[in-house]
Subunit: 365 residues, 2 copies
C-alpha cells in the first residue's frame, strides 16, 4: 500500500506517553485521527485521541480489534513485541517496519547492524552464552580498556540497566549483579560532547534531516538539547551521511533519532553512534518551536504516506526538560515570554519523571 | 475564583467545531484537559478531547453533569443560550462571561453597547415592535441612505440572514421575506477594506492585542486574512484602543475578535466596528504560524487564569481558508514548503463548509 492515507484516516499508535500524545496532536493538525493502544489507563495520549484501547501488548484479541480499526500503525517506543509487530504488519502498514524494531530493541543486534554498514561505533563485546568466569574481567579490560560499560541488551533507557566495571577489584561484584541477563560490554568513550540527529524518510525513500543537536544528560536523563551543536560543519555532514545510511539500511519510514558521541576536539572531531531510536526522540522536541514542521508532524506525514515537510530551522534553540519537580515551576515558565511551555498532562509529579519541556529561542536565524 | 487552574485541570468547551478543536489542541500543549459539549456526534473537536458530551444545549441534566466534570467553561460560538450560560456561571467560572454573550448575540444590543461606549459604528435603526407599513422603506432610505443592509438581529453568520434593500422598487418584496423576524437596518458602508483585530484579556484585567489583519470575503465567507493590514499606523493604534475599550467594557476574559470597516483612503482613514465575536476568530488563524503564542493558546491561558502569552508577530502572513472543494487539494498543499496546512478532520466536504486553512509566511520579520 503506497497510496497516501486520506484526511480523516486513522493512525494507530502503540504507546500512550508524551511522544504518542505529541504525535496525536500533530496528526490532528493534519486532519488525521489517532487510536492509542496502551495498557496504562492514565496514558496522557488518551486525552487527545479519537479512540483508545486499554490493553496489554500481548493481548492478541485487543491488538486484532485495534488493527482492524486503523489504517496504519506506528509506535512511540522501540520495545514493541516482535510477535505483535508481525501480527500488525500482516494486516496494515506498520511504519517504521518490524526490521527497525528488531535491530533497535537489542543493543548487540543494533551495534552489529551498524558495524556491518561500516558506520562507526565504539568497541563492544558480547558472549553467547554469557558464562563469566575468573578470566572474564581480565579479557574485558584487555579488549575494551578500563573502565568498561556493561549494559543489558534489552529494555534499558535513561541509564537503567547500565553499570561501570572498573579495574580496581570491584568489577566481580558489579558483574554478578547482572548475572543471568543478556549483556553487552562497551568500551568507555571519552567523548567531548553528545549530539543527536533526527532524520525522516518517506514511503518513497525520500529522506531529510534536522540540524544536529547538542545534548547534556544529568543522572543519565536528557537535561537540555541545544541547536546548533558546537561541532564542525564537516562533522554535521558526517552525521547526515550516517543518518542516510541507517535510514536506507532499515528501509525505514518515519522519524529516527540517532545519538552520537563526539570524540576529539574541533580540528580532529569524529563521531561514534551511541544508539538509535526508531521513533520521535526527546532531543528533537526543539523542532516544535524552531521549525515550520516538527519531528512529530514529519513522522505522521511519513506514516501516512504524505509528502515530507521541510526540516529547515528558523531559530537557534535550547530545549530544557522538566523532570519531576521542575514542572512545579509552570507558572513562572508560562509567564516567561522567551519560554514555550509544553506540559504532558501527567497526573502526578514523580522524581525522574518527564513532565514537560520548555523551548527557548536564543536567536532568530 | 481567581486562582489559576492547575495543569491537569479540565476546561469545558461548548461547541465541537474547528474552533473548539484548535482550542483543545492548544490546551493539551499546556497539560490541560478538555471536555467538549456538542449535540453533533461527528464534532471534529471530539477527536482531540479527553471527554465528550453529545447533548443539546437545552438539555439541563447533561449541562449540569458537564459543569460538574469541569473546572471552567468557555465556548466556540456566541449563540450560547443565556439560560445555559447562567446555569454554568452559577457553578463554575464561565469565561468570557454571560455579558459578552448577551451583548454579542443580538446585533442591536451589540451596536447599542458599542455606541454607548463612544465606539464608532455605522448608522443603524431598529423598530420594536417591527410592524412595517407603506412608509417604512421611505423612512429607512431617508435615515440610512440607499442601499440599506437588513440583517436578522440573531443567528446570522457568513452572510446568512442578510439582505440588501435598494430604492428601486424591489425593497418591499425583500422586506416581506423577513416578516416576523427581529431585524436591524444598517447604512451601507462604502468601505475601502475590511480589517480585524484579535484582543485578549486575562482574569486580572491585563490585555494585549495581535496585529491588525486585513480580510477579504468571497460570497460573504472569509477567504483570506493578511497581516499586516495595509493601513496607517495611527489607524492600527485606533483599532487597539477600541479593542481595549470593548474588553474593559465587557469585563472580558479570553480572546475577542473585532471586525472593522476601514472608510476612506490612507490620509483620511477611519474605522467603524462591524461586529464583535466573543471567541477565537477565523481571521486570527494566522497566529498559529506567525506568533509564538497563538490566539488559541492565549484564549486557553486566559480561561485558565494563567499569565497571557506574547502577542508578538514574527512573520508577515497570509491565511487562506479551504472552503468546500478547496480541501481536495490537500496533497499539493502539504507538498508546498511555504504552506502550513491545517485540516479540521471533517468527515465530508460540502459546498461552503470550512474544511481547513493554510498559513503562508510571506516574510520573516
Amino acid at each position: 500500500m503506497t497510496e497516501p492515507l486520506p484526511p480523516g484516516a486513522t493512525i494507530g499508535i502503540l504507546g500512550g506517553g508524551q511522544l504518542g500524545r505529541m504525535l496525536a496532536v500533530a496528526a490532528a493538525e493534519l486532519g488525521l485521527k489517532c487510536h492509542i493502544f496502551c495498557p496504562d489507563p492514565a496514558s496522557p495520549a488518551f486525552d487527545v485521541s479519537a479512540a483508545r484501547t486499554i490493553a496489554g501488548y500481548d493481548d492478541r484479541d485487543a491488538l486484532e480489534a485495534f488493527v482492524r480499526s486503523v489504517d496504519a500503525v506506528t509506535y512511540e517506543f522501540e520495545n514493541v513485541d516482535l510477535a505483535a509487530a508481525e501480527l500488525i504488519a500482516a494486516a496494515k502498514p506498520l511504519r517504521p517496519g518490524a526490521k527497525a524494531l528488531e535491530v533497535s530493541q537489542d543493543r548487540l543486534t543494533e551495534k552489529q547492524f551498524l558495524a556491518g554498514k561500516n558506520i562507526p561505533v565504539g568497541r563492544f563485546l558480547a558472549f553467547d552464552p554469557f558464562e563469566p568466569d575468573d578470566k572474564t574481567l581480565d579479557l574485558l579490560f584487555e579488549r575494551l580498556g578500563d573502565p568498561v560499560v556493561m549494559k543489558t541488551r534489552r529494555f534499558g533507557y535513561d541509564g537503567k540497566g547500565q553499570a561501570i566495571l572498573k579495574n580496581d577489584g570491584s568489577g566481580a561484584e558489579t558483574l554478578s549483579a547482572f548475572a543471568g541477563q543478556d549483556v553487552i560490554f562497551e568500551a568507555f568513550v571519552p567523548f567531548t560532547r553528545e549530539v543527536s540527529i533526527m532524520a525522516v524518510r518517506g514511503v518513497g525513500g525520500e529522506a531529510a534531516t534536522y540540524d544536529v543537536t547538542e545534548n547534556v544528560h544529568t543522572d543519565h536523563i536528557l537535561a537540555t538539547s541545544t541547536v546548533p551543536a558546537d561541532i564542525d560543519p564537516e562533522t554535521a555532514n558526517e552525521a547526515r551521511r550516517i543518518a542516510g545510511d541507517i535510514l536506507d539500511g532499515l528501509d525505514y519510514v518515519g522519524v529516527l533519532g540517532i545519538e552520537f558521541f563526539v570524540v576529539g576536539d574541533h580540528d580532529s572531531e569524529s563521531l561514534l553512534v551511541n544508539e538509535i531510536a526508531p521513533r520521535v526522540h526527546n532531543s528533537g522536541h526543539w523542532t516544535q518551536d524552531g521549525c515550520a514542521v516538527s519531528q512529530f508532524e514529519n513522522h505522521i506525514r511519513a506514516v501516512a504516506g504524505w509528502p515530507l515537510g521541510t526540516t529547515d530551522r528558523h531559530a537557534d534553540m535550547v530545549m530544557t526538560n522538566l523532570i519531576g519537580q521542575d514542572a512545579a515551576d509552570w507558572q513562572a515558565l508560562c509567564a516567561d515570554p522567551q519560554a514555550r511551555l509544553h506540559l504532558y498532562g501527567k497526573a502526578e509529579i514523580r522524581p525522574g519523571r518527564k513532565m514537560g519541556h520548555v523551548n527557548r529561542i536564543t536567536r532568530q536565524t
